[in-house]
Symmetry: none
């Protein structure tokens, strides 16, 4: 359903920025001028695609009748997210004893939904801009791709690394710090469980 293309994202951003700036939505012509299109139909088709995919609603016949649809974000809907610190060996990540505290934050704060914040230990991902005590917004999923920053569990130890599947039986978990070594996981012999992936980061100095 929700696969937005990069151009459609540009149009969606353009609408949001226009509303923030002026207080009302743009016309087709406004979007064209903003994004460099030469035909109003360019904007029109993108708008219809965004409407079809459920990102916006268009009031038929009305001028500037565009409204952005915010999923559960019925404006200002917030939620409490747990902050996970040191995860005890063997225990489920979200077990109560692992929750340090909670952070109140809007549901639509990051691009996609997430489930908890993980407090980072060590500097194995420092070249990716992830420092000690940073809070990684973790989305629980096993659908990860090469290059994703994943939260993985090997032998009851939780680690944050770049995911890189080399073959059907070999996954490499790569650090972003030359002082650390790549973890090679033989899927036939070792057990690898993907807890989720990073979709954002929060740092409080």
């Amino acid at each position: 359903m929700k696969v937005i293309t990069s151009q459609q994202q540009r149009v969606l951003d353009c609408i949001q920025i226009y509303i923030n700036k002026t207080g009302f939505p743009p016309t087709r012509a406004n979007i064209c001028k903003e994004l460099g299109f030469k035909s109003p139909n360019s904007a029109e088709t993108h708008l219809r695609a965004l409407e079809k995919k459920g990102f916006i609603a268009i009031e038929s016949g009305a001028s500037r009748g565009i409204s952005i649809i915010n999923d559960e974000n019925s404006y200002g809907s917030k939620d409490n997210y747990p902050v996970i610190g040191l995860v005890a060996a063997g225990s489920p990540t979200l077990a109560e004893e692992n929750i340090e505290r909670t952070i109140n934050c809007p549901k639509s704060f990051f691009e996609s939904k997430f489930d908890y914040f993980l407090k980072v230990k060590g500097l194995s991902m420092k070249d990716a801009g992830i420092m000690e005590d940073d809070l990684i917004a973790v989305k629980k999923t096993t659908d990860v791709r090469n290059g994703d920053i994943v939260i993985a569990r090997i032998d009851d130890e939780v680690t944050v690394k770049f995911f890189n599947k080399k073959s059907a039986k070999l996954v490499e978990l790569e650090p972003a710090n030359e002082d650390f070594e790549t973890i090679k996981v033989n899927l036939e012999r070792d057990e690898l469980s993907i807890e989720g992936k990073s979709i954002g980061l929060l740092r409080r100095n």
Copy 2:
């Protein structure tokens, strides 16, 4: 602010309710239907009165070009924080044209209050875990100490660096990347204005 009449208040309320309901402002005809007027000029004259008194702004020629002017809604007092992208030379950081969009976030999200998010360009602070396109939560202040990550303005260029006051007349702005050089500012000769300091960071992958 001048005195608003009861009818003008009705029109103003009508506009706000319409925006809340549809996401965009009403036309003259919409207002007439809503409030029972029989001529579009009824709405028109009320709108012009509201404009003259400073309650709304009307974009000339634009359809639905009404925006409600709300002093309480000016950035900082609520939970909407502006995201500042490329700052044009010479213009104030929070000038409207520099605001890319806004982010809704709790006031107490970071340890101390802050004023806006600055979108980072370049990698001069990468060893401090600040990467391109990261959003730095900036607190507007000139009260900075050595070691703080400051947002400074030198010759109309905005830069993010570690602050280090060496003496009464020498301030060094240190990058966190060996490929960049420390900026030495002679306070007697050069002008240095401290916009504020970083009190947190937000990254959205």
